[in-house]
Each structure stands twice: as C-alpha cells, then as structure tokens.
Assembly symmetry: C2
Homo-oligomer: 242 residues x 2
Amino acid sequence: MVTTSALRLASVTPSSTQASTVYDRLREDLLSGRLEPGRKLQMRFLTETYQTSQTPLREALNRLTADGLVECREQRGFYVADISRNELIELTKTRCWVESLALRESMAASTPQWEELLLLAQHRLARTPRSLKSEHFEDNPEWERLHRVFHRTLIGNCGSQSLMAFCGQLADQLYRYRRLSIQRAFPSRHVSDEHQAIMTAVLSKEADDAVALLTTHYQQTADVILQDQQIFRELQNDGERA
Amino acid sequence: MVTTSALRLASVTPSSTQASTVYDRLREDLLSGRLEPGRKLQMRFLTETYQTSQTPLREALNRLTADGLVECREQRGFYVADISRNELIELTKTRCWVESLALRESMAASTPQWEELLLLAQHRLARTPRSLKSEHFEDNPEWERLHRVFHRTLIGNCGSQSLMAFCGQLADQLYRYRRLSIQRAFPSRHVSDEHQAIMTAVLSKEADDAVALLTTHYQQTADVILQDQQIFRELQNDGERA
DNA sequence: GGCAACAATAATTTATATATTTCTTGGAAA
DNA sequence: TTTCCAAGAAATATATAAATTATTGTTGCC
C-alpha cells in the first residue's frame, strides 16, 4: 500500500487532482506567453484545449487569479492578465524593496548551512547553459529552474514563509514579462557574473553591497524589457487596467 | 421553482455573483472565529449553512485559500486554517518589516492630500467607540472598519498596489488572532493614543519615529495575544503545519 | 429617400445545480 | 496484522438557467 501509493504518485499523477493538473498546465502556458496578455479565456476553448470540464477549470482559473496571472471580471469571464509599462515598473520597484528586506534578514540570520546552500545554488546555475542553442536563444528549462532556486535561496533564510511566498508571486509575474522579450534581451548581458557578484557579497557579509547588486540586477532586467517597443506596442492606454 | 429562484436572486443578491456573496459571508465567519481554526469544512455542512451549491462554494474556498484563511488538502477537502504561536510571531514579524517599508515609502512620497487623508482617518477613528458597551467588550464593526482604513491610509501613499494587497492579507490573518482573544485584551491599552502618536510622527516627517511607533503598536498587540493561554491551549504541536 | 440610432430578440457564454464517478477512510473478517 | 469491502465524502461532468453582447429591424430625423 505504501509502495503502490508512492509509485502512483511518482509515476502517473504528479498532481493528483484534475484541477491541480490543469492549474499547472495553464500556469506554464501563461508564464511562457503562449496565452497572450489580454486574451479572453473562453470556456469552450479551454475545455477543448485542456481536455477537461468546466468545474476543475474554474478552480484552476480562480487560483491563477490569486496569483495575478489571470483577471476575473464578474459575470464576464476570465482574461489573461494584461501587461503594461506601469505594471512592470511597479512590480520591479516592489520586488526590489521586498527582496532587499528579505535578503538583509537572511544575512542577519546567516548560518554556515545557508551559505553552503547558496554557494551550491550559484555553482549549479553557473555551469548550466542559459540557452539550448548557441547561435540563437532557445529557453533552457533547467537553467530557469536553477535560476529560480538561486534567487529563492538568497532570501530563504529570512524566516518568513509568507514573505517568501509574496516574493515568489512577484517573481512569477515578472517572469512573464521576461519571457515575452527574451529573444532580444539574450546576448546583451552576463547575468552569470551578476549572480556570482551577489553571492560573493553575501558570503563576505557585505549587506549593503549585496542589496545594491541585487536591486541593480532586477532593475537592469526591467530596463531591457521596457526598451522593447514590440511588447507594449499594441496597448493604447498604457497604464490603465480595468 | 423558477420564479422563487429568480426572486431570491433578485432580492438577496442584486448585482453580485453567488460565489462572491458566499465568499464575503465565509470570510466574515472565518475572521470572527465563528468557524474555529482547524475545523473541517464539509461540503454538506457548507451547502446547508450558506444555502448554495457546491460550485460557488468551491470558488469561494479557493479564493480564501489564497488569502491564507482556508487550507486545501488534496482529495481531502477544505479546513479552516489552523493557528499557532509560531505563525502569530512570524506574521507579526513580517507585518512589521513590510509595513515599515511601506510607511517609509509613503512618507518619502508625501503630499498634502495624503496627509489630510491621514488626519481625517485618525480623527474619525478616535471619535468612534471601540466597544458598543462600556461595561464589557462588544465588537463595534464601525470602529473595525475605520481602524482598517487608518492603517491602510498610512501605507496608502507607497505607490505599490501589490505591496498594499500583501499588507492587507497579513492584516486579515492577524485580525483573526485578534478577534479570538479580544475579550481579555480589551481594557488594557489605549490604542487611540498610539494611533495619534503615529499620525503625529508622520505629519512631523519623523520617519524613524513613525516606524518605531507602528512596529511597537503591532508587537504589543501580538504580545497580548501570545499571553492568552486559552487560544493555543488545545494545540499539541504548536509550530507545525501540514 | 437615406442614414443613424435605439430597441428588441437571438445567440453565445457564464454561472449554478445536480448527478455520477472516483477516492479515502473506517470497520470487520480472515 | 493485513486485506477487502462498504460507506461516505470529494472531485468532475453534464445539464439548466441567467446574463451579456451582438445583430437586425424599425422608426425617426435630416
């Protein structure tokens, strides 16, 4: 019984309910940009695409609304959350504020174990190629996963689950912006050096340096996306959201 | 059948959806403690109590899970989020960090309009009795509403919707703790003086003072609740959560 | 006589309810 | 103690009801 249950969970159903499965799939499609910002999410389209019925879909859409990836207009259905320059600026500003706070607290509570985790996370990230192809950009899921682990480890010692969850939400929302303009942003920077510099500052107990490097890291990412005319081209009323 | 259903919908819920209505009612019952922490939320009980069907209920429960007031165990239904000393400490710590940040940013972006809003909020709160009865405590919903407005106004000038939403979530979760031990905490403090002191510091542009007063305000509230043996009495494993 | 605006109806779509299936859990028997 | 069966609860699917939007037709005004 233990073995069968464990096997089933491990092999057949990573997420056991239909609602969780479709949540994961929808989330991936939203983050990758396959479901483009502002698009109406019609039930008929969703049930056909994801091969499930309305009930688990509504459940997944409600969770995604809480994550800020989907917008729910009362009596008018669901929409992919829109993007705007203003939102990108605000999200980045908030992330810089909150992660600076979390990083300082992480460092204030520093332990050898945490420092070793950070060293490992940076090492693994550094030796993984960002793009699967060298001539043009092709997203490497393993790099994305390790990148996420690195940033989560940075703030992972702050001692607040809720603060980390909030940082995770901001990261998700900003990840979507990053993916939408990833091709053009590809060759211009050496993010690996930036990650290493942050880690070095943390291990040297230089909190001010670490925070400055981290915020610059996020700000530069935002600046590159903001310069991308293509993404925001279609939007007329840039800052407004209903 | 059709007519009665239409009448009920028309009279009880003029414009909103069933899901939003039951969300509001459930939220109120969770925050007030009428639905006690750890309690299993069985569908049958919920449908009978709130006179609605499973679908809008699942929708409401999913939203409340995102708010941290309900816990969802896969394939095992929904439970009222449990409470613990450790969680109270962590939530308070996080709220102090994040609201300090938000208050500093609010003050850095200060405008005469915002200062006037704050003055008004404090004035209205101060002239509203906290308890409906003077001999014993009886919750005054108007005071609670104005209290919330005051604290929201404090951080309302920070320029980040997402940061304010996060503060609101933390406030909700902590409000539940406060309500659970409100009777004993009633006579001991003069919270009105504390609010006025915070406002004075803000209007005097004394950011450090304002932040110190605000964090002390939250910390003292938590300390009073932590001393309450009754609330946490039943819990064996204090800090653990599944 | 033609064009525009408003209203009404129909179609599409969301929201709710009920029924069915699947999963978990507890109890009994081997 | 372990396994199987039954009962109950949760998750999903389908059907029904309600609401919004779009299109068409009619009427009024230019």
